[in-house]
Symmetry: C2
Subunit: 208 residues, 2 copies
């Protein structure tokens, strides 16, 4: 069965937003890309903001799914690496949001609050994971240390892709989410006891 035009618009928009930046993508460019008329696009969406809003909704759902971490989870290092991999992959899929964040949030102010909420949820997720590691005696860190670490982890997952693509400017053929995972694992490493640290170092090597 044929893919609905509405969905084609969404996926083409996402691709263009990520490639060129949302403010640089006109509704005409989207319809050209799909070989449909601009009028047709406005039959399926009332405004460009609706497209952005719907894509943002997908981002939000994906994040909510990923960050629904039970409080009593007993996470292994392998699972942690896998989790981070999924997290970076999802963030990369919607990277356009972070590329021009201030502009997007001022033009679509209704996204501000949900955006902030997702950020808080990321932080909370990392706190849960740190508590899990502590409970298993795989991490030792005082409260201010955990707080600083969780903020650092959140900052890094949010902006790693921006930083990494800025570093490479031009020679980008798709970003490797693995480098982000590697970077985050190195943030964790100093706080693990010796043997566990060696284990993590082996895992990190795979992601580099």
């Amino acid at each position: 069965m044929k893919v609905k035009t509405r969905d084609r618009i969404l996926s083409a928009s996402l691709a263009l937003f990520n490639e060129l930046g949302e403010p640089n993508v006109t509704t005409l460019l989207i319809s050209d890309e799909l070989d449909i008329s601009p009028g047709n696009l406005y039959y399926h969406f009332r405004s460009k903001g609706d497209i952005v809003g719907e894509l943002f909704g997908h981002y939000r759902e994906a994040m909510d799914d990923l960050l629904a971490i039970p409080d009593d989870v007993e996470v292994s290092l392998d699972q942690l690496g896998f989790f981070l991999h999924l997290l970076f992959e999802t963030l990369e899929r919607y990277r356009f949001l972070y590329h021009d964040l201030v502009n997007i949030l001022t033009r679509y102010p209704e996204l501000k609050t949900p955006f902030r909420r997702i950020l808080k949820r990321k932080e909370a997720g990392f706190h849960t994971l740190c508590r899990s590691l502590s409970r298993q005696n795989m991490m030792s860190l005082d409260d201010p240390g955990v707080e600083a670490l969780c903020q650092q982890l959140t900052l890094t997952v949010c902006y790693w892709e921006s930083y990494d693509s800025l570093r490479d400017l031009g020679n980008r053929n798709g970003v490797d989410p693995g480098r982000g995972v590697y970077q985050v694992l190195y943030l964790l490493m100093p706080h693990l006891p010796g043997p566990v640290r060696d284990e993590l170092e082996l895992i990190a090597r795979d992601y580099q």
Copy 2:
């Protein structure tokens, strides 16, 4: 003596860019803010891009000054804190650049290469500082560790303000660069030997 109109345009533009985001600031808004005509603005600058370019030049100069770190420097922890403070202050002064980076770099592509060069210079600066600390036995870290740390430091100084203002959305009455310094010092802490670490913890407390 009266301040030249040209300079008033530059400083008003900088303030507005930081407050509202560069793409949201029209040439009309800038001239309104200064109670001059839009035509007058275009007498002093050939285009809006020229204003952005000149402000970027100031940013570049400030960074180049800060990052001219001699290879054989023997940096103390106090000096390190002070350096970071200056660094964050400067980055905050030109924070609009990072708020909509992709948009700005696509509309003013001539900034791409210099921007990337400054990023590399930050990384190199942190490498120099890490070597200095190592030489003084105030830091012990293997090569991949230093590499990951320096990237982490660069990422953090560049994007801390964006992250921090996103976290607080709304309740912003000017950002406190101190929180950034605190965060970076906590990145360094785990890699310092015990006594030095305690000293750094005291310094960090002041910045929180």
